[in-house]
């Protein structure tokens, strides 16, 4: 059994890299399609099989104490990444990125080459239930995104003739990303985690710059420097942990009983905050939308940002009740509220999704920062549901964009009548983000309860107000979709079969997970948290409530059905909507004050005057930076 685990973990990490290598040489579209399909399905099955075998065994896996050769290869890899960054920053004259990269790589190389890490003979690979959650998320959602990308990129190259077709590179990068994520979650050694962490930073940088337009390059470098800043913090944390605390494994670090722990903990938390795009680092994720949709879906849902919250959740037990924890929790809560306010003013669908990602990650971060058993429980569920819903939403917006030629929610006016399939998918995705009975809402509910139990009233207030603003921007979008429209548009739905496979797959996943909520909590998440804290932990919300929510899924389908049945035979008279008698052409036009007919156009409401001001944005950044600096100062003060 032990051997097969090693083989499985090894292949989960290596297969994506090998596939990436193959794909970067395949130019033929059909061959690429077959390879991507095949390997995505393989990865999906492999992760599922691994998860099942783990669950049957139920034991934490850890192995591989001797890794001298691999360490050397990784060191070479780090220098290779540094080389890429230096080359590109010279090419585009952004030398600060090169400087950041050199600092961290040289620092770590010194640490390794000076032999300070040689005496550690600890397991490098570690796998517990949290790893399994991540593996399933990366393996299933990530693979779905790759499948979706096949169809999407064909359309994309078709529509964007001005962009050079670099699909070889693109698909290669997608799989590199998956491999790096697997490596990250399986590693226990901080240097290993750091190595994969850097791969995700660099590959996201390369993916964001896919189109090579000026905007794309600008945004990709912003993503790079912010993530490299996190990388510097990460490297600093490793150096400090090794030299001062004599610790190299993440799992040993968090149980380390030393007041100097606060400092590396804060640095790692900063790394987590940059990667999960919390304020003041949230801008890079906004810029990331210039990339083709599969990239956004990947960055926002299953990978990249989830690496950040994954790290924070791992650190959670150590953050409970200290200055680092308070800082992280408050930044998270603050980000949750302010990003949801920012989302109100936008009409670009992907932008709204991006703000919502940042906002929801803020909630997860806040949960991790509080670090209590119950908040971590909520954080795990929030993470799972967010990954599925957000991936689904990005993909459906991408599909809509390919079909109607715009991702602006104003242009989605009445798509429920024009493209019922796409509209239904978006609606399910949005419902999944904030409405009863779907996962995000139940988890938010749990988070609320957990915050009260933990006695953090500020977070309760952030959550109460943030929920209202969240409700507002999602509902606004729904209003557009549910609006009435002509079926005049004749453009065909261009969603490819690959896209549909992925979309429907996500919907099935989401609904299954809601129905199985109580089961997942009991059999999986509760043991996970108990393992984290070393004592039995129960569910945050009662099983009765979870089961009510599961049944509710049926009710939410039943209500419209009942309503349709009830209204079917009622005698009604058709009429036009009320418009003071100035409507023409069945309400498509109206007569203006000069007696001329004009097209009727109904726009959404964005509250630009209040929430859209630059000042508002600047204030939130300043507050977040100040909070972060105070937090770091406290952690230094506490540590020395």
């Amino acid at each position: 059994m032990g051997l097969s685990n090693e083989i499985m973990i090894g292949s989960l990490i290596f297969v994506p890299f090998i596939v990436a290598l193959i794909l970067s040489f395949v130019g033929n579209n059909t061959v690429r399609k077959v390879i991507v399909y095949f390997s995505a399905v393989c990865i999906m099955f492999l992760s599922a099989a691994f998860a099942i075998s783990f669950l049957i065994n139920g034991k934490t896996i850890s192995f591989m104490p001797e890794t001298e050769i691999i360490d050397k290869i990784m060191l070479g890899g780090e220098f290779f990444l540094m080389g890429i960054i230096i080359w590109l920053s010279i090419k585009y004259k952004k030398l600060y990125a090169a400087a950041l990269s050199i600092v961290q790589t040289v620092g770590l190389a010194w640490l390794e080459l000076s032999g300070k890490t040689e005496h550690f003979k600890l397991d490098h690979i570690y796998c517990d239930r949290l790893t399994i959650v991540m593996v399933l998320m990366i393996g299933i959602i990530g693979s779905f995104i790759c499948i979706y990308a096949i169809g999407y990129m064909t359309d994309y190259t078709h529509h964007h003739t001005d962009v050079k077709d670099r699909r070889k590179f693109f698909f290669g990068m997608l799989f590199v990303f998956l491999g790096a994520m697997f490596g990250l979650v399986f590693s226990s050694n901080l240097i290993w985690i750091y190595f994969f962490w850097e791969i995700t930073s660099v590959s996201s940088f390369l993916l964001i710059g896919y189109t090579k337009t000026e905007e794309a390059i600008y945004n990709s470098f912003r993503a790079l420097w912010m993530n490299l800043l996190g990388g510097v913090a990460f490297a600093g944390a490793i150096v400090f942990a090794v030299i001062k605390l004599d610790v190299i494994n993440l799992s040993d670090l968090i149980i380390c009983d030393n007041k100097m722990l606060l400092f590396p903990l804060m640095l790692l938390a900063v790394a987590g905050l940059t990667k999960s795009a919390q304020l003041p680092f949230s801008k890079w994720l906004m810029g990331a939308m210039v990339a083709p949709t599969p990239t956004s879906a990947l960055l926002h849902s299953a990978t990249m940002v989830k690496a950040g919250v994954y790290l924070l959740i791992r650190l959670a037990p150590a953050m409970q009740g200290n200055s680092v924890g308070y800082t992280v929790a408050l930044i998270g809560g603050f980000t949750f509220f302010f990003s949801s306010v920012r989302a109100i003013v936008h009409s670009d669908g992907k932008k709204i999704l991006a703000y919502s990602t940042v906002s929801n990650l803020g909630l997860i971060t806040a949960c991790a920062g509080v670090g209590a058993e119950s908040t971590v429980w909520a954080a795990i569920f929030l993470m799972m549901f967010h990954a599925i819903s957000k991936s689904l939403l990005f993909q459906s917006v991408g599909a809509i964009e390919n079909t109607i030629g715009s991702r602006d929610i104003e242009d989605m006016h009445g798509i429920i009548r024009r493209y019922p399939f796409l509209a239904a998918i978006v609606i399910i995705g949005i419902f999944g983000m904030y409405l009863a009975p779907f996962g995000m809402l139940i988890s938010k509910w749990a988070a609320l309860k957990a915050f009260i139990d933990a006695g953090n009233i500020i977070l309760v207030l952030f959550l109460a107000f943030g929920s209202a603003t969240t409700m507002f921007y999602w509902t606004k979008w729904l209003l557009k979709i549910f609006a009435w429209s002509d079926k005049t548009e004749t453009r065909k739905n261009q969603t490819s079969i690959e896209q549909c496979v992925s979309l429907v797959g996500h919907v099935v996943l989401m609904i299954t997970l809601v129905i199985l909520y109580a089961l997942v909590s009991q059999k999986f998440v509760e043991p996970m948290i108990s393992e984290f804290y070393g004592h039995p932990v129960g569910a945050v919300i009662s099983y009765t409530d979870m089961i009510i929510m599961s049944c509710y899924v049926g009710v939410i389908v039943l209500i419209p059905l009942l309503a349709i049945l009830a209204t079917r035979h009622v005698k009604v008279t058709k009429t036009n909507a009320y418009m003071s008698g100035i409507n023409r052409d069945k309400g498509r036009k109206f007569v203006d004050s000069f007696g001329k007919e004009r097209d009727l156009y109904l726009s959404n409401w964005y509250m630009l005057d209040i929430m859209g001001s630059r000042r508002f944005l600047n204030i939130s950044t300043v507050i977040a930076v100040a909070g972060l600096i105070i937090g770091i100062a406290f952690s230094i003060g506490g540590a020395f």
Binding site: V460, A464, F482, T567, V570, V572
Partner: protein
Amino acid sequence: MKGGLISIITIAAYIICAPVIAGFLSGLDRIITARMQGRRGPSILQPFYDIKKLFNKETLEVNKTQFVYVVCFFISIIITGGFLFGGFDLLLVFFTLTTSALFLVFAAVSTNSPVATMGAHRELAQMLSYEPMVILVAVGFYMVTGSFEGRDIIQADMPAIVKLPGVFIGFVSILTIKFRKSPFDLSASHHAHQELVMGITTDMSGKMCGIIELTHWYENIMLYGVIALFFVYNSWVSIPITIAGILVVFFIEILIDNACARVKWQAMVKAAWIVTIITAGINILILQCVK
């Protein structure tokens, strides 16, 4: 088992009695309002006559889906009230309330009428204003009684309002929005004094309008149910106190309605949020500190 049976009885009582009680309250409202304005006012049964008339009138609809959403709204509000009176989790009640409120705005936008669409957006602004307070009500009850569940909250040793005066005041203030009363009757006005015609309900007529009215009755009783939670505790004495409390709130709402002119949405959001922070926020902070 016994708890389950009681829940079923109270839910059934809610479904049957709510429209009757709400109808009488509505009639009373109209009489008191009329007296405040120096008029005589209609008979107390007038709301029932009105609703009967609505159901007998011709129903006009702009498109098929509109009626479906209206019925969805009706069903889900009843479910919400059922959760409350069945003694379930308060957060469950409030989240269901949000979901049901959405059906009303869907019904409005599905007509593509500019008036109704603007009404729908204003309805959203109203929800934006009152949501935080509603969540904090649940938070307050949880901090005082250790449970979100209605059936546990009413078993407390003393009325929750003793420890939650701020939360209570905050909730009563946002009730003005939920009851669609001045100064916050932005999305659908019962009085013919706003530029939005009937706002969100403009394109609803006949049976549809009747159902909307009926739904509001159910919703109002549900909201009074939440008010009742502030007063009820494990003693028979609490019942007359509760009824008195509800009547006082009822009267205050009418007074506010008649004394205030309608404000703009910006003022509403600001006012509601500031009141929420000052009343409920401080109340909860104090509770946390003395714990």
